[in-house]
Amino acid sequence: MARVVLGSSLRRYTGGVDELEIDAATIKQLLTKLGAQHPKLVPILEHGLAIAINGTIYQGALLEPIPPDAEVHLLPPIEGGREASFRLRWWR
């Protein structure tokens, strides 16, 4: 199970939830399950995010494995980061 921290900016899309546990083996699985649990987040997820797994920031890495008990943070894309909305959409 990964501990997913959404950050205060995203609380408004999750009814106040800013931290939750999700069972996901990859970033793609995590985003799919997150979008299913909190549909209002979907446009944000599609807009593009950076994902930090245990401190390492990933962008454009949908297939990156998430180790068990990982700490995952959702971040805005880092400038120069690549996560085109039209590329991200296919994960749904």
């Binding site: 900016s9 593009g48 930090a52 880092i78 400038e79 120069g80 690549r82």
Partner: protein
């Protein structure tokens, strides 16, 4: 191919032969002899001259555009306006180093309903000569309804401010506003309880700061040559930091398939983030498609200032509390950044970086992305960070001074380290801030006595750095020399550093490796040069491509020796036998294998296509001494030292160049550079005479210290270095000036009239 941690250790523990050396720059001879071919140096037979008609108004509705007289002028072969570019739906995608919306891009390339800044493109012509093109522009009649304008974030945020986009509702506010405004977005980052944190503080300082928009100041203007044939196939030569990004934008805007456009990145005369977007390129392609002739377009310097993308001006309020011993107990920041005519300022990274160098339990940062009638901002080296970190570092310095603490000691007390949780959430891995602070403390600069009217300033800075998509192909030529092909334009010496990493990995002399930046048809998609990513990401692809070539070379040697492949290893440029009788078998060099390649299966070519992850952030600390002439307000930089973590400096000379260049740009930003607008919303200083950038006579020798805390994610430990050097200078210089004159400065640039005013105010108060 994932980087194996064991490979990293091996790489670091063995004596490196090439990585870390200072060879000659491969592009040096062409550049100093004038042979280097920049964007404006390309020509084709039958070429037309393209010119843009630009709005003279800061804000105006475009009622109509009459091109009939211009079209009839002999020598005019094509004219394009908003009617030649299909409108785009609202869709956010990354573009260069910013997130952009294609609905905004198409309007920035060519105005549609409104002209939103002086210089906004309204029409363009292609003609047989520059004079005919100029006359054609004069004949185009645009009916404008001039509207009131706003320039600064403060003006644009007023409730009665004229609106740039009547449908702009601020995102990130709950509940969503019902009324449109010029605030595109509100962002927020929070940790802990700032109220409780401030309650524990012995000293609290709250200050407001203003910075002005500044330009990246690249010496080479935007330039391109477009050639579209009757079948709709296009070639484009342009000065850019990312030719694949140019291809993506142009294909989207002109509704072309990507495979129909080939883009060549010409030699580039500076970019610094400002050449990560498109301006002339889609226009030139549209003109070429219409005229069926090549079209060349080059911006004048005036156009570069008015119609490309400077960085944001900003208004900020920073509040920091600390205990007597210097421990920071809470930090608060409110930042408003100007985005220019369309949303998308670097407010987000500005917020994320503001307190990044420090371990803070309690922090709260709110940021606003504000549109105004100025050119749309583009990235400028660590976009957003220099602005916010200037303000935070200035307050930290004021607190240190109030508490009687050494500014470096105060930073050491609060410094982020491995395991520190950043305000934006994740914990840092290994980082080098403490190492840079310790090095600053020990540097002879820091103990050099100061003279009269002199002050010393210190500031630290941070930038994330990124990875991203990079491809590399290594062709082993039949004589054993190697051609390395990559897709990231060279703006800071990457041809040299790629060659060094390829040579190191292959085990051959670097003089046998030549690096080429190839076009978009010749290599896989490669993201642009930006985000301090190239030595990291393209470097990783280069190493992977070299390892792929090595695998093939070993397999070829195994075939020649008629042994299984697991009995061959690669060692220092040679295939060697292992196992039985290995000692009796002479190794085969890369050159020997290459010579036989054609007859033993075909040419050897290693390649790699990756999306590099694990970029390590970079911290730096700057120390600067200034002398203030209290009669004129002029500030002279007397000594400057940049200390920054590079992870591993592949070519130390280039790394030092990045450090010095960032510092030099920071000097300009701190002391002189600003966009000056008249009451009519028009830019008053659109040239280098009045937009005053530092020249060599303004600067002392900038000393550099390279700290190396390796990034475990890269085969040689590399961290990006290009952007962090511009983050600390404004604060370091502001702190130095403040200490020199005994009065705090809160506005950039600290040009002589402002410094003089502060000195006079101090004297009037008995100081």
């Amino acid at each position: 191919m994932a980087t194996n941690p064991i490979d990293v250790e091996r790489a670091r523990s063995k004596q490196l032969r090439w990585v870390g050396t200072r060879g000659p720059r491969p592009d040096g001879i062409d550049k100093v002899t004038g042979r280097a071919r920049y964007g404006a140096d390309f020509n084709l037979p039958g070429m037309l001259v393209g010119r843009v008609l630009r709005s003279p108004h800061a804000h105006a509705r475009i009622r109509s555009i009459d091109i009939s007289k211009a079209t009839a002028l002999p020598g005019v072969k094509a004219i394009v306006t908003r009617d030649d570019f299909k409108d785009m739906p609202s869709e956010f995608v990354p573009a260069g180093e910013m997130m952009v919306n294609y609905r905004d891009i198409v309007r920035n390339v060519m105005a549609r309903e409104k002209a939103l800044y002086e210089g906004h493109a309204v029409a363009a012509v292609a003609a047989t000569s520059p004079s005919i093109a100029r006359e054609a522009l004069r004949l185009i009649k645009v009916d404008y309804e001039v509207l009131p304008h706003v320039i600064t974030a403060a003006e644009a945020m007023r409730p009665d401010a004229p609106l740039l986009h009547e449908d702009m509702i601020t995102m990130g506010v709950e509940p969503a506003p019902t009324k449109a405004s010029n605030v595109a977005k509100r962002v927020e980052f929070k940790t802990g309880d700032v109220k409780a944190g401030f309650a524990k503080a012995d000293v609290i300082v709250e200050r407001s700061f203003t910075t002005k928009p500044v330009h990246q100041g690249y010496l080479e203007p935007h330039a391109c040559l477009a050639n579209v044939n009757e079948a709709g196939q296009a070639e484009l030569w342009c000065t850019t930091q990312g030719h694949f990004v140019v291809r993506s934008h142009c294909a989207k805007l002109l509704e072309m398939e990507l495979s129909q456009i080939r883009v060549v990145a010409t030699e580039i005369g500076g970019g610094f983030g400002g050449k990560t977007v498109v301006y002339l390129e889609p226009v030139a392609l549209a003109l070429s498609r219409k005229s069926k002739r090549p079209v060349k377009m080059v911006m004048s310097r005036d156009e570069v200032f008015k119609a490309s993308g400077p960085t944001s001006g900003a208004h900020m309020t920073i509040k920091i509390g600390a205990r007597k011993d210097g421990t920071i107990t809470a930090g608060e920041a409110e930042l408003a950044y100007e985005a220019g005519a369309f949303q998308g300022s670097p407010i987000q990274p500005g917020c994320m970086c503001a307190f990044a160098p420090y371990e803070l339990e309690n922090a709260h940062v709110v940021g606003y992305d504000v549109v105004s009638n100025r050119p749309k901002v583009a990235a400028y080296r660590a976009p957003g960070a220099p602005i916010s970190e200037y303000a935070v570092e200035a307050v930290i310095d004021e607190i240190a001074q109030k508490l009687g603490l050494d500014p470096i000691e105060m930073r050491l007390k609060n410094a982020a380290k491995a395991g520190t949780r950043a305000l934006y959430g994740p914990k840092f891995g290994p980082i080098g801030l403490v190492e840079t602070l310790e090095a600053a403390k020990k540097h002879p600069h820091y103990s050099t006595p100061l003279g009269p009217n002199q002050g010393r300033g210190v500031a630290s800075g941070f930038w994330f750095n990124i990875g991203g998509e990079s491809c590399a192909t290594i062709n082993v030529n039949e004589d054993g020399s190697v051609t390395l092909m990559i897709g990231t334009p060279d703006i800071g010496g990457s041809r040299a550093s790629m060659a060094l990493m390829a040579a190191e990995t292959l085990g051959i002399d670097v003089s046998h490796v030549r690096t080429l930046i190839v076009d978009t048809d010749s290599i896989g998609y490669t993201f642009l040069t930006g985000g301090s990513r190239v030595t990291f990401a393209t470097g990783m692809a280069t190493v992977d491509a070299a390892k792929d070539a090595i695998r093939q070379l070993c397999a070829r040697a195994a075939k020649l020796w008629e042994v299984p492949e697991d009995q061959v290893v690669w060692d220092n440029g040679f295939a060697k036998r292992t196992g039985e009788n290995a000692a009796n078998v002479a190794p085969m060099s890369l050159a020997e294998l290459a010579a036989k390649a054609g007859k033993t299966g075909g040419p050897i070519s290693g390649h790699a296509e990756i999306n590099a992850q694990g970029a390590g952030p970079t911290f730096g600390t700057h120390v600067v001494d200034v002398e203030v002439d209290e009669a004129t307000g002029r500030v002279d930089i007397k000594r400057y030292t940049v200390i920054q973590d590079a992870g591993k400096a592949v070519h130390p000379g280039y790394v030092e160049g990045q450090y010095q260049g960032g510092a030099a740009q920071g000097v300009g930003w701190a002391l002189n550079e600003e966009y000056v607008y008249g009451a009519d919303g028009r830019l008053q200083n659109a040239g280098f005479l009045d937009y005053r950038m530092p020249v060599t006579s303004d600067l002392p020798m900038i000393d550099t210290v390279i700290v190396e805390v390796p990034n475990p994610a890269h085969p040689y430990g590399v961290r990006g270095v290009g952007e962090t050097p511009i983050v600390p200078p404004m604060a370091a210089i502001a702190n130095a000036v403040s200490r020199a004159i005994g009065s705090r400065m809160f506005e950039l640039p600290m040009s002589p009239p402002k410094v003089l005013k502060a000195v006079q105010a101090r004297k009037a108060n008995g100081g």
